[in-house]
C-alpha cells in the first residue's frame, strides 16, 4: 500500500493506494482522486505551466500551459522546449503556441490575452 496526497484540488485528500489490489484507492473524496491515485502509481502525469518569449506586447513573457497533463518525467524536457518558442502579440488565451510538445501529443497554449 502507498500513501499519497492527492494534488487534483486544494483539498489534498490523503489517499491509500493498494497496488496488490489493482491499485484500489481509499481516502478520496471524489472520482478524480481515484483516477489520480491510480495514475500516480502507474504513470504519473502533470500539467506544465510556464512562459514563452513574447514580442510586441506590454509584457516580456506570455504565460502558457499544456492543455492536458503530460508524463511527469517529461516536465523538464518540455520546460526546456518552451525556451525555443517565440510569440508575437496580440495573443489570446487558448492560442496554441507549441503543438505536440516533446512528442506527448499535448499542445501548449497561451493562458493570458495580451493585445
Amino acid at each position: 500500500m502507498k500513501e499519497l496526497v492527492c494534488i487534483v484540488c486544494p483539498n489534498g485528500c490523503r489517499l491509500r493506494v493498494y497496488e496488490e489490489e489493482g491499485c484500489r484507492v481509499e481516502g478520496n473524496a471524489c472520482p478524480r482522486g481515484e483516477e489520480y491515485g491510480k495514475n500516480e502509481l502507474l504513470h504519473p502525469v502533470r500539467v506544465l505551466t510556464g512562459t514563452v518569449r513574447l514580442h510586441g506586447g506590454a509584457i516580456a513573457r506570455c504565460p502558457v500551459k499544456t492543455v492536458g497533463p503530460i508524463p511527469r518525467e517529461k516536465l523538464l524536457e518540455a520546460a526546456q522546449a518552451l525556451c525555443a518558442v517565440d510569440v508575437q502579440a496580440p495573443v489570446h488565451t487558448g492560442d496554441v503556441v507549441l503543438a505536440d510538445v516533446c512528442g506527448t501529443g499535448v499542445d501548449v497554449a497561451a493562458t493570458r490575452t495580451v493585445l
Binding site: 484540488c9 486544494p10 510556464g50 513573457r61 500551459k65 520546460a79
Partner: protein, 421 residues
C-alpha cells in the same frame, strides 16, 4: 466633486469580484481604481495552475482565472482607472487618487470596497541575520521578475519558508533551469498546501527541512552561501546543527500581511489577529458603507475563496447603496476559543444575518480527526466534523440563521478540538 455609487479600491481578484457582484446587485455607477497598469492584481504573475476549482469547476492558471473575471467585467459598464494610486480614503468616503492623466483627484461614493490585497513579509520582519548582499528576494518579487519581466534572479537557490508562494517558486525556478537546493521551514509543518509540497518539491527531489531556519547569510557583493540550522521547540537555533549551502539566491516566503495603511488612516477598527479590518457579517467595516474583502481583510490560501468573500462584499455594498444601512438591532461578537487563531467576520448583526453567515477562521496547530464547535457561553449551538485541519489551510463554516437564533448573550465562541478516532 464626481460622486459614484461605489468605488472599489484595487482591481485584483477581490476588487474584480466585488465590482461584478455590485453590478449584478443593480449598481450602475461603479469605479475600480487599480494602481498597476492592468487589472488582475497578483494573479497576473501567477502563471501556475490550481485556481478556479471551486468557482469554475475546472483547473485554471492564475492568469486564466483573472482573465475570466476581466472578461465578465468588460461586459458591464463598470469604469476602470489603471495606474491609479489611491492616496487616502476618508470616513465620508472621499477617495483621493493620482494617475498620469487625471493628476491628483478627489472623488466620492455612497459606498467603498477596500480590496488592496496584501504584501510579503520581508527579511526585516523575520530579522534574518547576516550580510546585506544582493541575491535576496521575496518570493513574489522573484515571481514578478521571472514571469512578467522575463528576468532570471539566480542559478542556485535556497528558499526560506514553505508558504505556497515559496513552494510554487521552487518549481518555477527549477523549470527555468535553476537548481533549488533546499526549502527551509521554521515550523514543524509547512504552511503551504500539501499538493504544492508534492508537485513543487517532491516531483523535483527538492528537500524540505522542517524545524530549520537560515541563521547566517554570507556574501560580499552577491550572496555566496547561507547557513541553515535546526531549531528547538522554542524555534531557537540549535548550535552544532549548522549546514552550509553554496547558493547565489535566497527567496523568502515568510508570510503575507494585509495592506491596511488606507484602512488605518481612515480610522476603521483593525483586528490585531488578522491585521485586517474588523467586519460585520456582510464584510462592512466599522466605518458605515465601507466594506473590505480579499487579502486586505484576511490572508487567503485560495483565490476562489477571495472571489466568494468579495462577491458577498460587493453585493452588500449594492444593498447599502440601494436599500440603506443594514438593520442594527442585536449584535454578537464571534470570538476565537481553543486552538482558533481568528475569525472573520468578527461581528454579526442578528437581524441582518438572515439565512445565515459564512464564517472563516484558522486553527493555530495541526489537527487530525477533529471538530469545530460554536458555543454561546457553555451551550454548544453547532458542531462541524473535520478529518484534518492545519494553520496553512483556512477553514470555513456556515452558521444558519436558525442556529444563530439560539445564541444567548453577546458572544459566540469558535473552538477546535481533537476527536477520538
Amino acid at each position: 466633486m464626481r460622486e459614484y455609487e461605489l468605488i472599489v479600491i484595487g482591481g485584483g481578484p477581490a476588487g474584480l469580484a466585488a465590482a461584478l457582484s455590485a453590478w449584478e446587485g443593480g449598481l450602475r455607477d461603479i469605479l475600480i481604481l487599480e494602481r498597476d497598469g492592468a487589472l488582475g492584481g497578483i494573479l497576473n504573475q501567477c502563471v501556475h495552475n490550481g485556481f478556479g476549482l471551486h468557482r469554475f469547476k475546472e483547473e485554471l492558471t492564475g492568469t486564466e482565472y483573472a482573465g475570466r473575471f476581466i472578461d465578465m467585467l468588460s461586459g458591464t459598464g463598470v469604469a476602470v482607472k489603471t495606474d491609479s494610486m489611491v492616496l487616502s480614503v476618508s470616513p465620508e468616503k472621499q477617495v483621493e487618487y493620482v494617475n498620469p492623466t487625471d493628476g491628483c483627484q478627489v472623488v466620492c461614493a455612497k459606498a467603498v470596497v477596500l480590496a488592496m490585497g496584501c504584501r510579503e513579509r520581508t527579511r526585516g520582519a523575520v530579522s534574518v541575520p547576516g550580510a546585506r548582499c544582493s541575491g535576496i528576494f521575496t518570493a513574489g518579487a522573484a515571481q514578478r521578475f521571472i514571469n512578467i519581466e522575463g528576468q532570471m534572479v539566480g542559478r542556485r537557490v535556497v528558499i526560506l519558508g514553505s508558504g505556497d508562494i515559496g513552494l510554487i517558486m521552487a518549481r518555477r525556478m527549477t523549470l527555468e533551469g535553476a537548481e533549488v537546493l533546499a526549502c527551509v521551514e521554521l515550523m514543524p509543518y509547512s504552511s503551504g498546501l500539501n499538493r504544492n509540497i508534492v508537485q513543487c518539491l517532491e516531483d523535483f527531489g527538492i528537500p524540505l527541512y522542517l524545524s530549520h531556519t537560515v541563521t547566517d547569510i554570507i556574501g560580499k557583493d552577491r550572496l555566496e552561501k547561507v547557513v541553515v540550522s535546526a531549531v528547538d521547540e522554542r524555534r531557537q537555533p540549535i548550535p552544532g546543527t549548522e549546514r552550509t549551502f553554496l547558493c547565489d539566491t535566497l527567496l523568502l516566503s515568510v508570510g503575507l500581511l494585509p495592506e491596511n495603511e488606507l484602512t488605518r488612516a481612515m480610522g476603521a477598527e483593525i483586528d490585531p489577529r488578522t491585521n485586517g479590518a474588523v467586519v460585520w457579517e456582510n464584510m462592512e467595516t466599522s466605518v458605515p458603507g465601507v466594506f473590505a474583502c480579499g487579502n486586505v481583510l484576511q490572508v487567503h490560501d485560495l483565490v476562489d475563496f477571495v472571489s466568494g468573500e468579495s462577491g458577498r462584499a460587493g453585493a452588500a455594498a449594492a444593498d447599502y447603496v440601494r436599500r440603506g444601512p443594514a438593520p442594527a438591532g442585536r449584535t454578537v461578537k464571534l470570538e476565537n476559543g481553543d486552538a482558533v487563531a481568528y475569525t472573520v467576520p468578527q461581528r454579526i448583526r442578528m437581524e441582518a444575518a438572515g439565512d445565515g453567515v459564512q464564517a472563516f477562521f484558522r486553527v493555530n496547530r495541526v489537527f487530525g480527526r477533529s471538530a469545530v464547535t460554536v458555543k454561546s457561553g457553555e451551550k454548544q449551538i453547532a458542531r462541524f466534523k473535520r478529518d484534518h485541519m492545519a494553520p496553512g489551510e483556512m477553514e470555513h463554516i456556515f452558521l444558519p440563521g436558525k442556529l444563530l437564533a439560539l445564541a444567548e448573550g453577546d458572544t459566540l465562541t469558535v473552538s477546535a478540538e481533537e476527536v477520538e478516532a
